[in-house]
């Protein structure tokens, strides 16, 4: 089974229990305006060019016959300064699983495992489920926006030791305004987590004036009351450095900046009796 990924990160420390190796799936149905992995949005490979250091020599435009460069306006290999890279490569689930499983001895002694993230891993359901099956025996986490059909979501849960799902905005209108989609499917999958009791962590990125409002955090805390498998809620401070990748993809820079995270943001969760941390 083939799938599209754009990165693998070892010793990821924020993606589940123990040291993780995180696989980033490429392509996402949401368009969060603060997205810090913009190279994970499109469902096809993309060139990333460090335009800031480009001397304009033109070698990359001179034409080539490499099969891997077909469909791009530049040659991947020609840059004398090494400024061109490809984001996104098609991988076989069996090969990827075999590569990941070489680290199993590490996870066995450290209590870590594999985390599948993105992009949106649930947007490549067959590949995702097949990969999860092939990773049986290691601790598996999936990081998801929750924007997927509940059938797919439930099938993923059945193959995953821990689900880490985002809940960015409780209000459907604001959700649509800032992510391009309303949150009906996400809330439905949250309901699935409530019913199934599947172990989960619910995460909210802290975007100044958008998700970090008292109103939003209070509403989210309320939605999380009584979810039996909930290990904790996590508030994720926003990383302003993430904006650097936008120009490399030829995109407009992001409009959001980081904001100092404050312990007081946890108050709504404390009031609701929901365990929560500032990550």
């Amino acid at each position: 089974m083939k799938g599209l990924i754009f990165d693998i990160k070892e010793l990821a420390v924020h993606d589940g229990p123990g040291p993780r190796t995180t696989v980033f799936f490429k392509g996402c149905p949401l368009r969060c305006r603060w997205c810090h992995n913009p190279e994970g949005l499109e469902f096809h490979p993309q060139l990333m060019v460090q335009y800031s250091r480009c001397t304009g020599c033109g070698l990359c435009r001179a034409g080539c016959d490499h099969p891997e460069c077909k469909g791009f306006d530049r040659c991947l290999h020609a840059c004398p300064n090494g400024l061109i890279s490809l984001s996104g490569c098609e991988v076989d689930s069996g090969e990827l699983a075999a590569k990941l499983l070489r680290e199993k001895d590490f996870w066995d002694i450290s209590g870590g495992g594999v985390t599948l993230s993105g992009g949106e891993p649930l947007s490549q359901p067959e590949f995702l489920l097949d990969l999860l099956d092939k990773l049986e025996g290691v601790h598996r986490c999936v990081e998801t926006s929750g924007f997927a059909s509940t059938d797919v979501f439930a099938a993923m849960c059945a193959r995953t030791e821990l689900v880490m799902m985002d809940l960015k905005l409780a209000d459907p209108g604001l959700h649509k305004q800032y992510t391009g989609q309303d949150n009906a499917l996400i809330l439905q999958n949250l309901e699935y987590l409530r019913q199934s009791g599947h172990p989960c962590i619910i995460r909210t990125p802290l975007i100044g004036g958008v998700t970090d409002t008292e109103e939003n955090l209070t509403a989210i805390a309320k939605l999380l009351v009584g979810i039996p498998g909930l290990q904790r809620a996590e508030l994720l401070p926003y990383n302003p450095m993430a904006g650097a990748k936008y120009p490399q993809l030829g995109l407009e820079p992001m409009e959001f900046t980081g904001q100092k995270a404050d312990e007081r943001l946890l108050d709504p969760f404390i009031r609701a009796g929901v365990p929560a941390i500032l990550a």
């Binding site: 420390v13 040291p19 290999h77 840059c79 300064n81 680290e103």
Partner: protein, 686 residues
């Protein structure tokens, strides 16, 4: 940290004590009297210690600082030139880079040492052993010089009202210490005198083992609490930093004051104790570059100990450096060290494994540049090689030749005698001979530099010239000879698209396995003139710049002059799979056969250490390295942003510490080439 220590620390960093310093102003008469070298050494020590004056006497428990800044050598310039003609002179010529025994001398007290020396001197006279007579006369003269300075320190401390320190100096160094504080004072006098005698890179050894009985006794009797012990220990740690600016090696900070903690006892038990833990705490609180902390671990070491180590790593000092007893002890036994000695190993100045007070090893005698071997083989033979194995065989020949040259170059070794340090080395009084003539172990160590650059180079040649056949030997050599000028796309391809060590890719990691095996084979069976063997290792020392400067550009895409990675590490520009893949790649070679010392060296972004949770995950990586058969691991917390800013505003970063190759230094005191190298290393982060 108490207020007293904080003040002492600030004064130390402000060099407040430098006010006491002056150059040597006495008569340099030891060079002229027709004395043997060993007696000259004693005369010089006597003159130097006589010129020293007691200083920093109040508010301190542990006395002795250096006040005389420079001392002429024991030989005239002409004599030195002559010695260099006739002998192989290693580095500065002085004794260096070994670890004397503080323990045995403290257990006896210097009065008893003196007795034994006198008795042995009588025997030498009776036997007409004039060489032995010279040595023991020199030792006794050195001891008198130490006694004289100790007496002056005691009187001055008394006069200054520091009766506690004065009282201690009534007992030590003459008799065995009665308390932890006396033991620390005793150590300080011995260590101070080793430096004063001219020895450099004076190792500290397994401090938590030989000092523990003194502390344990004081804790049991209530003389000390854990808190007061820590305060005393922190003052003691600061004493290593008072004079160390007088002891520069290749750069400031390269002073070899290495301390080893943990490990196993003689009967195989876990040796980590409360003092080990207090040492980690003292280093973490003080954040100064000495002593340099090493920690011995093994497969049974609990994760909590790695977590404790990682809390120290977080401070950015590059401490602790870990070594793996499961690999190192059997490797030392295999090299011929007795099992009871191997279990007691420590490190020399950086990471070379040595046996305290038994090893007169010179474990940094030279370095083999793998890249140079490959470059020569490529130019001379690549075009003639029918297949890659044939090329590998040519590279092996060059490694052997390189070892032949080293073996030849180091013949006729002469080390300037060091009678006082010799007293602290096993057997020297009994044999009535200076340790520079030899001790129980007399092995030589050879560094193997730029392993990853070399493995990457081999893999690129294998792939392009022999497998794909997309490049001929002549084309590759033409590009290399042009330093890739006009071949920029080829260079990029070599740099970014060829297999690199650090990706858990057997294709290239296998080349490192091959090169290190070839290195081990090349030194196997060689004997030096002292009856010792040659050991090979994975350390780079300063060769990561020097050998890189001497080596033309390499087929891994490295331009001429671009440095190698520090010690045993991926090349600076290699795209790696990440920390886990690096550990997997670098534990594939048979490191027990290349165990002179030289750690896997990795940088991590300091943000990775901010939370206890993520720190514990880094600790797991260290443990994984040990479980995977790694020999030695050096990890550093860095902030690239801070390093760049420190180059621009050095005045604001006086205390910023970085790890260089086997030692840590204040960043702003380094030459820019060393600063740039730290910045160029890739840091793994969140």
């Amino acid at each position: 940290m108490t207020q007293r220590i904080e003040t002492m620390l600030q004064n130390c960093l402000a060099y407040a004590h430098h006010v006491h310093r002056a150059p040597f102003a006495g008569a340099v008469d030891w060079q002229k009297k027709g004395l043997s070298p060993v007696l000259r050494s004693a005369h010089r020590l006597k003159a130097l210690l006589a010129a020293e004056h007691p200083a920093e006497l109040t508010g301190r428990e542990i006395l002795f600082i250096r006040t005389v800044t420079d001392v002429p050598g024991i030989f005239t310039d002409a004599e030195q030139a002559d010695l260099k003609q006739k002998h192989f002179i290693h580095e500065l010529g002085n004794l260096s880079n070994i670890c004397p025994s503080y323990q045995s001398v403290m257990e006896l007290g210097l009065d008893e040492v003196k007795n034994r020396a006198n008795q042995r001197l009588d025997r030498c006279r009776a036997e007409q052993d004039t060489e032995g007579e010279d040595y023991l006369t020199a030792l006794l003269m050195s001891l008198e010089a130490v006694y004289d300075l100790c007496a002056r320190y005691r009187a001055a401390a008394q006069w200054a009202g520091n009766t506690a320190a004065a009282d201690r100096l009534a007992n030590v160094p003459y008799n065995p210490p009665r308390s932890f504080a006396e033991a620390l004072q005793f150590f300080r006098i011995l260590h101070y005198t080793c430096w004063a005698e001219g020895m450099y890179h004076v190792g500290v050894g397994r401090f938590d083992q030989y000092m523990w009985p003194y502390l344990q006794k004081d804790l049991q009797s209530g003389v000390l609490t854990q808190d007061s012990a820590l305060e005393l220990l922190e003052e003691f740690f600061l004493s290593f930093n008072m004079d160390s600016d007088m002891y520069p090696g290749v750069q400031q900070g390269d002073d070899g004051q290495s301390m080893m903690l943990g490990g196993r006892t003689a009967d195989g038990k876990d040796a980590f104790n409360l003092l080990s833990s207090l040492c980690l705490t003292a280093s973490r609180e003080l954040k100064v570059i000495d002593p340099k902390i090493n920690l011995r671990v093994d497969k049974d070491t609990p994760i909590e100990r790695y977590e404790e180590g990682t809390r120290l790593t977080m401070e950015g000092l590059g401490f602790p450096q870990y070594s793996n007893d499961d690999i190192v002890i059997p490797a030392l036994i295999e090299m011929g060290y007795a099992p009871e000695d191997a279990v007691n190993y420590t490190v020399a100045a950086c990471w070379e494994f040595i046996i305290p007070h038994k090893g007169m090893d010179i474990d940094n005698i030279a370095g083999v540049s793998f890249s140079k071997c490959i470059d020569e083989a490529m130019h001379e033979s690549l075009a003639k090689c029918a297949d890659f194995d044939a090329f590998r065989a040519e590279v092996v020949k060059k490694i052997v030749t390189s070892c032949d040259e080293i073996e030849e170059n180091v013949k006729g070794l002469y080390i300037y005698p060091s009678p006082f340090v010799s007293m602290m080395m096993d057997g020297c009084i009994d044999n009535a001979r200076d340790v520079t003539l030899g001790c129980k172990y007399n092995n030589y160590g050879i560094h193997g530099t730029g392993v990853s650059t070399a493995a990457d180079t081999m893999a690129a040649i294998h792939k392009l010239v022999f497998e794909e056949k997309s490049l001929t030997a002549d084309e590759l050599i033409a590009a290399i000879d042009a330093n890739f000028e006009g071949y920029e796309s080829l260079r990029q391809r070599l740099r970014t698209e060829m297999p690199k060590m650090g990706n858990d890719d057997d294709y290239v990691d296998g080349e490192a396995v091959f090169l290190l095996d070839a290195f081990a084979d090349a030194v196997a069976g060689r004997k030096n003139e002292r009856g010792g063997i040659f050991r090979c290792g994975t350390g780079s020392a300063m060769f990561y710049l020097q050998h890189a400067a001497e080596t033309p550009c390499t087929a891994d895409g490295r331009s001429h002059g671009e440095p190698f990675g520090a010690n045993y590490a991926p090349s600076l520009y290699a795209k790696t799979g990440g920390p886990v893949s690096i550990v997997r790649s670098f534990t594939k070679p048979n490191l027990a056969r290349a165990c002179n010392g030289g750690p896997l060296t990795m940088e991590f972004d300091s943000t990775l250490f901010r939370s206890e949770e993520s720190r514990s995950k880094v600790a797991q990586l260290v443990r994984y390295f040990i479980h995977s058969g790694g020999h030695q691991f050096q990890l550093n917390a860095v902030s690239a942003e801070q390093l760049h800013d420190a180059q621009l505003h050095p005045e604001q970063y006086r205390r910023l510490v970085v790890r260089i190759w086997g030692w840590s230094a204040y960043f702003v005191e380094l030459d820019k080439a060393y600063q740039d190298h730290v910045i160029a290393r890739r840091a793994y982060g969140l």
